[in-house]
Amino acid sequence: MALLPIPAGTQPDEAQSPPAAPARRAVPLAVPVVAGASGVVAAELWAGVHLSGLAPADALLRLARRAERFTPRVSLEPPDGLLLEVRGSLHLFAGVTGLRRAVTEECRRLGLTAVLAFAPTPLAALALARAGRAHAVLEMSALVGQLAPLPLATLRWPGKICERLARCGVRTVGAALRLPRAGFARRFGTAQLAVLDALTGRSRDLRSAFRARVRFRRRRELTCELENHQVILATLAPLFAALAAFLTERQCGVVELECLLDHRHAPATRCVLRLAAPMADARRLAELLGERLERLPLPEPVRGCELRSAALVPQRPDCLHLWQPGEHGGGLSSEASGLIESLRARLGEDAIHGLAQLEGHRPEKAWGKTAPPAAAGYRAAPRRRTRSPPVMRRPLWLLPMPRSLRVRDGKPRRRGPLRLIGEPERIETGWWDGEEIARDYYTAADIHGVLLWIFREREAPHHWYLHGVFG
């Protein structure tokens, strides 16, 4: 899933709708809730969380993960800030007060002390929180008034700039906002002006969204030591059941699955399953892992097992065709990737490959191996003809290396004399990469009528080689 920046400012869908009627906000004023005179509710409301005091390094990430339950739009402001866009979820948490209580509760559970402020722009919410003012500014018109008394340090500008501003007598956000824009940009930099614009909502503030990395990881300790592969696979069954539930819940599949088998002394045995396409079918995954496990030598009996997934991949459910593949143009769906998986599980990663034609006159370099053909998304053969203009006749089989032929009376032999057919084709190329060839290729028939593709080197001593079979 791509991480899209969250635009602050108006949302397109909400911009079209008429301004909402001022809602009756009966908020117990434990903290000041500031509403402007206009009564127009801003399109966005950001909650800025500032972690004060000593917070462990990963506290912010843990908090961000927990905060995803308040809103899908969570953004990190390292090292100590977190932003949540909560306009859409306010009503679910009984307004600002309820949300404040819920977020504070989350922080308390993680052992963090935090200041929480609400404002229509992300930077303003953060600045208020950094200043330790747990305000809730709900409307755009009230924003500047609330920001004005904040010290400039809350914007975290470079120290040099803050010093220069202080020398001019500018120590608060309000004073900075009162300076003429052009002069401010010239003397203190356009970046700082952009921050002020973002602070007051004059320009849009793009935030990258935080997405928690979700992975499956489950352990099972065994009460006895196991050696039999079948039994080990059976003990993995509950883990696979959990994996199935996990994947179904998230509508995701895995492309990589790792199984760790613990031993008493030896290091844990790893078994990694890599798949051609995302798969969510835990029973099939168990089958494939079973194939892998069977070929895996175990140094010692197994005492515990663990199943881990790599990053999850969104799973698109298979579209079932009316016709099965092969009937009246019924196409491929999941059969192809299933086949690749089974072959790879038993025969190894390079069990199956595709073929491609490459540009080049040297027969050895005219073809290449590719990844197996695309499983899905293939509808019809391309209309264009791939047949290049006058193709010389090529054999259907190519030997991996040209095989030397015996010669008698100047004629090549292979289980008897070879009869040359037609004119030779000269292939003389490749001087630029050190693998130069200079050959005259002939079609030849052996005494049984099998057609061969043979060549004679142009360089002395003019050896004959077999290079292909016409088949």
Binding site: H328, E335, A336, H448, V450, F470
Partner: protein
């Protein structure tokens, strides 16, 4: 009732069995008119195992199949055409020149070819699968035949000529011997076919003239 083409097409479904047509099954034109005349159903079967017996590797057995393979891979919604443990590497430019769409071609590596062949046939992911085997057991052949029926795949097994005397569950067996510009095909087994040799000529039997 038989005049309606739509209905006729529906009734061609292999799962529909009609009393008065015992031997109706989907076929694929072989590309050789004299051969089509003699093959049961006027073409290669779309599903099932066939055997091609040759005295020597390279007697023209691929030439015989290429028109059909090309047509299969060019069709809309084509499935794969898989080569299981070929004795040499199929040469991509020659296949492309023969009209085979390389996008639909896959090659499966060498270890345990018969097991891989059965998986390929059974998977339903392939229109055609080719394999080479020296001495498959009759039970293995039976499994292959059932797998090909199940996956609706044309399975082609290339075997040495000496296997002609053995019984086989394949739906069709042909013997092939090279001629100067073609091959002599002998039908060894097939539903409702008369035996006998057919002489075929390859479409491009002559080597192309030298360029320039």
């Amino acid at each position: 009732m038989d005049g309606d083409p739509k209905l006729a097409r529906l009734l061609e479904h292999p799962a529909i069995w009609r009393g008065r047509s015992a031997a109706r099954f989907a076929v694929l034109p072989s590309g050789f008119a004299p051969l089509d005349e003699r093959l049961p159903g006027k073409g290669w079967p779309r599903s099932g195992l066939i055997e091609i017996l040759t005295a020597r590797f390279g007697s023209g057995e691929l030439q015989l199949l290429l028109p059909a393979l090309g047509a299969l891979t060019r069709a809309a919604g084509a499935r794969w055409c898989v080569w299981v443990a070929p004795p040499l590497m199929p040469f991509a430019p020659a296949l492309a020149a023969a009209g085979v769409v390389l996008d639909r071609v896959a090659v499966v590596g060498g270890a345990r070819p018969l097991w891989a062949f059965e998986q390929v046939l059974r998977s339903g992911a392939c229109d055609a699968a080719l394999a080479w085997a020296r001495r498959p057991k009759p039970s293995e052949l039976r499994r292959l035949q059932l797998a090909a029926e199940r996956g609706r795949t044309l399975g082609v097994l290339f075997r040495p000529w000496s296997a002609a005397r053995e019984a086989s569950p394949a739906v069709l067996r042909l013997g092939l011997a090279p001629l100067t510009a073609g091959a002599c095909v002998t039908l060894l087994k097939g539903r409702s076919t008369d035996r006998g040799a057919i002489e075929l000529t390859w479409p491009e039997h002559r080597p192309a003239p030298l360029q320039g």
